[in-house]
Symmetry: C2
Subunit: 354 residues, 2 copies
DNA sequence: CTGAAAGCGCTAACAT
DNA sequence: ATGTTAGCGCTTTCAG
């Protein structure tokens, strides 16, 4: 009966490889990497010895000596739902291709978020920070230490930022809904809970106001439908992000005396929840109530939800690419980019006749 | 005009803090941690100096000195779709709560997957490896170096494994479908592409065979519907995992001379794709064709897809918990656990009358 | 309670 | 081409 190992099997060090191959540790260090001046024969011997000892260089020792980690970090507010996974996917793919490991951190439910992010910053060569995770002050402080790129967040002076378009497309959505003849609107979602949500709400408001102003200017306010031309926008600052939150908020909203005709939701999950609430209330969508979302999740297709598609993977991929570039050369001015979004019209916003 | 900094702003070191506080670096090291014997006054001075210098200990130096990383890694074959995100979510939440950073690696599209995993293993104190990412030989080798826990994968001797139930529930699914009167079955998905898929296929096959054997034993094979009682199972080893793959495979399958009555898909995405293909072919689901999936994604609810729910977050959470435990004490025997899954019957598998 | 000093394992000058 | 050696920044005995 074999004895159970009592001591944890320690990894071989560069010294052992050197001894076994009959060379110095410096030679081992060189032989194990590419493009270093070593005789083929020596390299062969070293590699052989390394293989026999199953040697892999200690990452922390190497990081300490090199002064870099060969790793990037990404900070999310949460990981619930398909959205973050898509952003992460784009990020990881690029980072890995560039030779960086990826560290991930979620700030949700952590009171010590700032500390966690600060700690993360010491483990990486660059940091991508998503949305509302930590304050601008910390971002600024971090940026003085390590390259940072912001994702889906309002810019901080001197820091790169990648976002997807919210206001313009939200305005387009408003116009589309107005075209369906809706007048009483409600926005479901808390603008303060996310920069993206804030942009979507602002865009909707803008679009609605512009339409009203336009109508008045053309003096045909009365021609159409009398006073009903007064478009109204009601804000339902639901702080949740998921289906349950949407269902709950919509349920109470729909039982009011004067429910909206069109419910614009800050994301698809909220909209999907609203859809359920509407069904439960016996309401016809879009007949009695129009509902729209944002993100174009897979479920949106099957729910026939009108929504807005945004390039989630590109968001992550761009962040990773920019980070890598800035690690090489921190000097260029901060970059900002807004990735295009696209209105995806399906059945939930109103009838579309050909 | 301020000059642009030409040198990257170096972080303060423990030496600078020590000098500023008028103590030795050893004292700084102690004062900055908890439960260490230092005078309150000294600690105060040191903390003050550290704060002024914005000092945070170098992670690689600390790791090298301590011989640990305070980080865990998780390896996925891919990151596409909601499934992996859920597993990761469960993992990250637990790991973070236990004070470990999380490194994530995807092997998809990498020919150097083994190297990447080996590299990752040197950056962490423990490693969770999901499904078909790398071979058993590498797992075994890794396990000799760092604690490893396998997720959704067949066990490797001496290594912890957490999975979700496939065979039993797949058998239940088979019975349910037989109950609907279906005889000609097809399984969409490649059993060789994932241990989970293999289990689901095997379970379906078992369930179908058991039913046939049972029917013969009871001698009522002819009583029911004559020779049509011969249940058949056709395998469509589609290697993709996503909706497009499912749609493509289903399309070609449905144009055959003798299409199946029930299409059991290896996951929801494939099933959702099949649903689209069926709709495009003018087929009624479940009238002309029953379709089932696996995972119970959000979209499945809205598509009315019969599927199987599995505790994805628990999968990740359990892995993280076990890993942490094994890092503390590597000696206990390997653990194995199969988390329960649950059949979720909706409309796509057949009519359900009350 | 605090300081001195020895590593942790590797890379990168600097020699040879 | 290869060896020597000085760090990288921190933790941790071991003294005091």
């Amino acid at each position: 009966m074999a004895m159970k190992a009592l001591t944890k099997p320690r990894q071989a060090t560069i010294y052992q490889v050197a001894e076994r191959a009959g060379v110095s540790i410096a030679t081992v260090s060189r032989a194990l990497r590419e493009d270093t001046p070593v005789t083929d024969e020596t390299r062969r011997r070293v590699r052989e010895a390394a293989a026999e000892l199953q040697f892999t260089p200690s990452r922390s020792a190497r990081s300490l000596a090199e002064g870099r980690h060969a790793a990037n970090g990404i900070v999310f507010p949460d990981l619930v739902g398909p959205y973050f996974a898509e952003v992460l996917l784009g990020y990881e793919a690029v980072a890995a291709g560039l030779g960086s490991s990826v560290l991930i951190l979620t700030t949700r439910d952590r009171r010590d978020a700032a500390d966690a992010v600060r700690d993360l910053a010491r483990r990486v060569d660059g940091l991508a920070v998503h949305g509302r995770t930590v304050g601008d002050d910390l971002i600024a402080a971090l940026a003085g230490t390590v390259p940072v790129v912001l994702i889906a967040r309002d810019p901080v002076p001197g820091v790169d930022t990648v976002r997807t378009g919210n206001r313009r497309t939200a305005r387009a959505l408003a116009e589309h809904l107005l075209g369906h003849g809706h007048h009483r609107f409600a926005f479901l979602g808390d603008p303060d809970s996310s920069p993206d949500f804030a942009g979507r709400y602002a865009g909707l408001r803008d679009g609605l106001q512009a339409a009203r102003a336009n109508a008045e200017k053309q003096g045909n306010a009365g021609k159409r439908a009398g006073r009903r031309d007064d478009v109204a926008l009601h804000l339902v600052p639901e702080t949740g992000f998921d289906l349950e939150a949407g269902e709950r908020a919509a349920r109470s909203l729909l039982t009011r005396r004067n429910p909206p005709q069109a419910l614009v939701c800050a994301n698809d999950e909220l909209a999907l929840g609203a859809l359920r609430a509407a069904a439960a209330a016996g309401l016809d969508v879009p007949g009695d109530l129009a509902i729209t979302g944002w993100d174009d999740l897979l479920a949106a297709r099957f729910a026939g939800l009108t929504t807005v598609a945004q390039p989630m993977r590109s968001l992550g991929a761009t962040a990773a690419r920019w980070l890598d570039r800035r690690i090489d050369d921190p000097s260029p001015a901060a970059r900002r980019r807004v990735l295009p979004t696209r209105l995806v019209v399906r059945g939930s916003c109103g009838d579309h006749h050909l």
